[in-house]
Amino acid sequence: MKITRILIIACLVLAACSTEEDGSGTTGGGNSEENFDRGAMLVNWADNIILPSYENFNSETQKLEELTQAFVQNPGDSEMTSLKAQFRSTYVAFQTVSMFDIGQAEQLNFRSFLNTYPLDADAVDSKIASGTYDLALPSSYDEQGFPAMDYLLYGLGSSKEENLAKYASGENAEDYKAYLLDVAERINSLTAEVTASWKGDYRNTFVENTGSSSNGSVDRLSNKYVMYFEKFLRSGKIGFPSGAITGTPSPINVEAYYAEDLSKELYLQALRSSEDFFTGAHFGNTNSGKSYKAYLEALDRGDLANDILAQFDAISSVSTNLDASLRDQVETNNTLMLEAHDELQKEVVLLKLDMLQALSISVDYVDSDGD
């Protein structure tokens, strides 16, 4: 709240100054934006980063559905092993698209349906038992998606064998299988819908919306990107589990709580994808194109771009020491989590205050929603 206010004041001062400076100036965004082709940046984002990331993720969700199908038809040990491996790679791939909450993803509440955690495991149990549920309801965000699969594959018993037995011989085996399959199908169908929109008309809608108003694609996705970094990466993956905000560590808030040794990998992929988006790195190859780094450099703010990159390095170096299971990390040495949080927070300040201000983008989200 406070931060937004400072920003607004800062923007006001800036706006007032620049009006005076370029009295005779051109209409539009002033001298800065003439040196930088925002449209080309949008094209790079859409064609080289967002769409390929979704296509890759969708091929993973497709396999996830197929292997779930195979498992429920024949719930054996090897089928379970294959399914778990696919679950892990799909969940990792999700981290490459989670930040793009715009267009169809936003309309469908894609991220909320796929990855709201902690899971309400009690509600999942009772829905499986009753056999009546509707996963399309927003009140069931925390009963589906990857957190539900995490629970259904890893959390249904004190051992791997016990978990498998729920599907192979348990008295509600059919209900468990049905729920697992419904969850996997829904992950895949929602992903297919979002991917199709990027392959279809939405790509042009997005890249042609080059305006610098708050409704332009650059402003909107930049807000989404920074908000993702702040709320979902910093707070969701590290802040809430470590209790950096509340003062009380909360292991249940760890992503992939039941799979245990997956959480660090998810976090590191999210971090990498955030950095790649900042630098404009293409998905799936070593090329890169225009993104924030180039934009800042064009505005003579290469210093800020370097600070942001250096901070990504600082986050990575403190994060490499984390346990593969952030749940273990929270329970054994939470200090390391808090240190990671502090480095992430420094990056939030650089992105949210300094970068958005340099790009003349106003923050359109607030951290909390009191009502």
Binding site: L12, S18, T19, D134, G370
Partner: protein, 403 residues
């Protein structure tokens, strides 16, 4: 964009200069001593007391915290809380109180003392929000809402529960109560001359005759009761309420005063309002009733403006969300708007001592919002023109309020 921001800077500067004029004025004109904080004493004892207002704000908060709890709350429970019957509150001290929210809804001296028919209708409206929530909406709580069908709808990460027209009853209740209870009691009851100057109040105040067993005169106390409806949440310090502006636990008028103050087009409104409360209270201590009533006018105008700014803010927000095809967000914005429009009927234009928006205009606007399938088919143009109708009665533009 730049131009708008620039004019915002000027508006901000203007506001600042206005408020410094205001605070200089009284000092120059008379010898009322205005303390730094809302701290008034007689013989070493504080004369400020508004526990009854705090009680009603706490009752309201408990009603609202139960409004969407379909598993535990019921129509009966919420209606009991509204009327404070059958010990409905978890906070036991509230049950022991003789006060209730309902008795003070649409109950001001100025607007309702000879208008009990409308007062009863308004009380019924609030009960109908409770009943609708606990019947129609509760029955459909596990269904997706559709045009004509109550249920739930996604608003980003949040779930909203709406009636068949897309209206969230909890928003209608909460935001409507800001006008029907808080603003009505402040602007049209406790700060009205009929109440401040009732009976021998002036003579007693001039002579320093306090109420029996109390440290305050009746007039002082009436003023503090107005103060308490705005600043009476337990999380707000009496002496310096703005020290927790936008950080208190209040969800009613004080919260929205802070949110409006955060918009650079209205920066300073919270400080100016607080200064007016202090200056008016000091004027009562000094027996300067002309000065007192000047401060009343500032408070009435500012708090009425807060209601109107939020009404327009949410109407414009709803318009944008509908244009973006985001119905969940739109319905939430429009539900807030509905409540604030409802509250406009309780505003007070100090020039004429009447609402900025008359009851019949408010009713017509609500009809426009809920016609046909309600929020499902209200057009952006309608929302834009309603915003224009409201802003035309105030000193701000819909664009300023929309930010």
């Amino acid at each position: 964009m730049k131009k708008l921001l620039f004019s915002a800077v000027i508006a901000g500067l203007t506001l600042v200069s206005c408020s410094s004029d205001d605070s200089l004025g009284p000092e120059g004109e008379n010898n009322n001593e205005i303390p730094e904080t809302y701290n008034f004493e007689r013989d070493g004892m504080s004369t400020v007391d508004y526990n009854g207002q705090t009680t009603r704000l706490q009752m309201t908060a408990e009603i609202l915290s139960n409004f969407n709890d379909f598993d535990n709350a019921s129509e009966e429970l919420l209606l009991n809380m509204f009327a404070n019957e059958n010990s409905p509150f978890v906070n036991a001290s509230l049950n022991e109180s003789s006060k209730s929210v309902k008795s003070k809804v649409a109950a001001s001296s100025l607007y309702f003392s000879t208008n009990t028919v409308e007062s009863a209708e308004i009380k019924n409206d609030f009960e109908s929000f409770i009943i609708g929530q606990m019947t129609t909406v509760k029955e459909n709580k596990d269904q997706l809402a559709e045009a004509g069908i109550a249920g739930q709808i996604a608003d980003g990460e949040r779930v909203r529960y709406v009636n068949e027209k897309g209206l969230e009853y909890n928003q209608a209740f909460a935001k409507g109560l800001i006008g029907a209870l808080l603003l009505d009691q402040i602007a049209n009851n406790y700060l009205s001359q009929a109440v401040l100057d009732e009976g021998d109040n002036r003579a007693n105040n001039d002579a320093g005759i306090t109420e029996e067993g109390k440290s305050y005169t009746t007039m002082e106390h009436k003023w503090d009761e107005a103060y308490g409806y705005l600043y009476g949440d337990p999380s707000i310090p009496t002496a310096d309420p703005n020290s927790v502006l936008n950080e208190s636990d209040d969800h009613l008028l004080f919260s929205y005063l802070g949110q409006v103050d955060e918009d650079e087009d209205f920066t300073g409104i919270a400080e100016e309002t607080f200064q007016a409360f202090k200056a008016g209270r000091a004027a009562i201590v000094a027996g300067d009733y002309v000065e007192r009533d000047e401060q009343v006018a500032i408070i009435r105008e500012n708090l009425s403006t807060v209601i109107a700014v939020r009404a327009v803010h949410y109407l414009m927000g709803g318009k944008d969300a509908i244009e973006a095809g985001n119905y969940g967000k739109a319905f939430h914005e429009l539900s807030e708007a509905y409540g604030f429009v409802y509250s406009l009927r309780f505003t007070n234009n100090p020039v004429i001592n009447e609402p900025y928006l008359l009851a019949e205009d408010q009713a017509r606007i609500e009809e426009q919002l809920l016609a046909g399938q309600g929020f499902w088919d209200v057009s952006p143009l309608t929302l834009y023109s309603i915003s224009g109708e409201i802003d035309s009665r105030f000193e701000f533009s819909r664009e300023e309020a929309a930010e």
